[in-house]
């Protein structure tokens, strides 16, 4: 679980610090930096897991426009593996933008005792007073992510596992096809942000986590009466309904946007909202009917609010979501034009419901 996040000199984040809860709901006007916050965390995941270089993660354009400094800093305090990790990444951008950025330093500390640190100058691994050369470490890639978790560096494993379990999802049912990639049925692929590859992800997930997936289908059924199964039918994902003694099947892309969104969201909820995960959810409620929003949010909330449950950071503009979750879990993000992003706990004075206060702008700081 992230206990503290610090971002400096990255787009609208300047000296930005936030201590999120186990369940946090981000609200605020367009352009305040909500999605950017989730994207920055997800980009960091890509860097540490080795999927992206530092140039692909934080390019020259990622610097704060009105800030002349060339150094960008990201810090994460993460509770995992029975202790507290402090991760710090410092990026040096080329002032002229002609050269790729470099990792000025990257460090990971565990319980203020164990520590590894990489520095560009000599690509060294520092453990206390000892310095070891790290052949193969490059100033454009994450050393922490590449570090073997065997032997002396065993403590990095829980952090690496934690960051692998960071998911960013922005469901777009219109992008979801019915095509199952049969070459990849043995192992579930990474679920794309927009869930466009949901049909490819579902069959292997059903095979590996049948109970969770079937619970998801059972949970959707009251909203989609008669739904008994979602299955791979010869390379096409299809939903099977039993109504009035008759069985009928529909290709996944024949379902409505809302029906696809419901099946995908409940699948995500039952499969991914589990201990150790960090779910970054960007407006997941966009396609849901009004009656479907609160039940999904209640289940998500109750999973997050269990000891050891997943951490959830959710963006929503939907009045029902705001009214239901913002009073206890809301964080308001805001910024003035050409100014930095700020964040504070959502607080409504008076008797207005949160969504109404937000719609009037009466939740804005004076």
């Amino acid at each position: 679980m992230i206990e503290r996040l610090y971002i400096d000199n990255v787009r609208s984040f300047v000296n930005f610090e936030w201590k999120p809860d186990r369940l946090s709901v981000l609200l605020g006007p367009n352009g305040a930096g909500k999605t950017l916050l989730l994207e920055t965390l997800f980009a960091l995941r890509g860097f540490v897991t080795g999927a992206a270089s530092i140039g692909e993660t934080f390019d020259e354009l990622s610097r704060t426009r009105w800030d002349s400094r060339t150094v960008q800093t990201i810090e994460l305090d993460v509770r995992a593996g029975g202790g507290l990790y402090r991760y710090r990444l410092v990026v040096e951008q080329d002032a002229g933008g002609r050269n790729d950025p470099l990792v000025a330093s990257e460090s990971l500390q565990f319980n203020d005792v164990e520590k590894v640190e990489f520095k560009t100058a000599d690509l060294g691994l520092y453990r206390g007073a000892q310095t070891k050369a790290m052949p193969g470490t490059r100033p454009t890639r994450s050393g922490v992510g590449a570090l073997s978790s065997i032997g002396q560096n065993e403590f990095v494993r829980a952090f690496q596992e934690w960051i692998w379990n960071l998911w960013l999802l922005r469901p777009d049912p219109r992008a979801m096809s019915a095509r199952v990639d049969r070459r990849r049925v043995a192992r579930a692929p990474w679920l794309e942000k927009d869930l466009s590859n949901f049909a490819a992800w579902y069959p292997p997930t059903l095979a590996s986590q049948p109970r969770d997936v079937m619970n998801a289908i059972r949970a959707v059924e009251p909203a989609l009466p008669g739904l008994v199964e979602v299955r791979d039918a010869g390379g096409t994902l299809e939903a099977v309904f039993e109504r009035g003694g008759k069985t009928s099947s529909y290709a996944f892309d024949e379902l409505s946007d809302g029906e696809r969104a419901l099946i995908a969201l409940y699948s995500v909820l039952h499969v991914l909202a589990s201990p150790g995960k960090l779910l970054l959810l960007d407006e997941p409620d966009n396609y849901l009917g009004l009656r479907e929003i609160q039940p999904w949010l209640a289940e998500l909330s109750d999973r997050a609010l269990r000891s050891g449950g997943p951490q959830v950071i959710l963006i929503s503009h939907h009045p029902d979501a705001l009214n239901f979750l913002a009073p206890e879990h809301g964080w308001r993000m805001f910024r003035d034009p050409d100014s930095q992003t700020r964040i504070q706990r959502f607080e409504v004075q008076g008797n207005l419901e949160p969504a109404e206060a937000a719609a009037r702008g009466w939740d804005e700081p004076q």
Partner: protein
């Protein structure tokens, strides 16, 4: 169960407890609507001074919300029932008594009745599909008993499960089981026994 339940409660802990209990009783999540409750974080954190209501010192935000909205929700459930819609109302309000001689469950029930009178809505009757869950001292008292089984008293302030409110799931499951089985847990304080009777009225 196809009955539709509206839940009017003070805070997230009560929401989790009642919501999970209804699920354990076989109610579909889609047939439960929780009326949004106010922000109680600042009261819990002691950032605001307690208010005096009817001579009692209370953190009134949640209870005030329930009292204010009770007449309207009662009228609504009656209107829906008149249209032959199977609807019920579950109300939660903590007693929040500070002393042994302080407010009682009956006092809280009377406050709800008074709100109805003030709003011109007839008071709740035995035929209304309405259950009033009124824990004394608070919902945490019931959770403590249902989770641990040891005797509790209705004046102690038991710890809140802040940021882990869903850890009360076993208590909700036990509450549902006792409601279904028409039983009462050992050492149940009077308010819990009354609460179980109330729940049985509507499930």
């Amino acid at each position: 169960m196809s009955r539709f339940f509206t839940v009017l409660c003070e805070d997230i802990q009560a929401r989790v407890f009642i919501y999970r209990a209804l699920l354990h009783l076989g109610v579909s999540a889609r047939n439960i609507r929780v009326r949004p409750y106010p922000d109680n974080r600042f009261h819990a954190a002691g950032k605001r001074s307690p208010r005096r209501v009817d001579g009692y010192e209370v953190y009134a935000c949640g209870s005030q919300h329930v009292r204010m909205n009770f007449p309207g929700e009662l009228a609504e459930v009656r209107a829906q029932s008149a249209k032959n819609r199977d609807a019920a109302l579950l109300v939660h309000i903590d007693v929040d008594n500070e002393t042994a001689n302080g407010r009682t469950v009956q006092d809280r029930q009377r406050e709800l009745d008074d709100e109805c009178v003030n709003a011109g809505v007839p008071k709740r009757t035995a035929s209304d599909p309405v259950a009033c869950l009124i824990p004394r001292r608070a919902i945490e008292t019931w959770i403590e008993l249902l989770m641990k089984g040891a005797p509790v008293d209705e004046h102690t302030s038991y710890p809140k499960l802040t940021q882990r409110e869903a850890d009360a799931e076993p208590a909700a499951a036990a509450f549902a089981a006792h409601a279904r089985g028409k039983t009462v847990p050992p050492h149940a304080p009077p308010s819990l026994t009354t609460g179980l009777s109330e729940l049985r009225r509507v499930v």
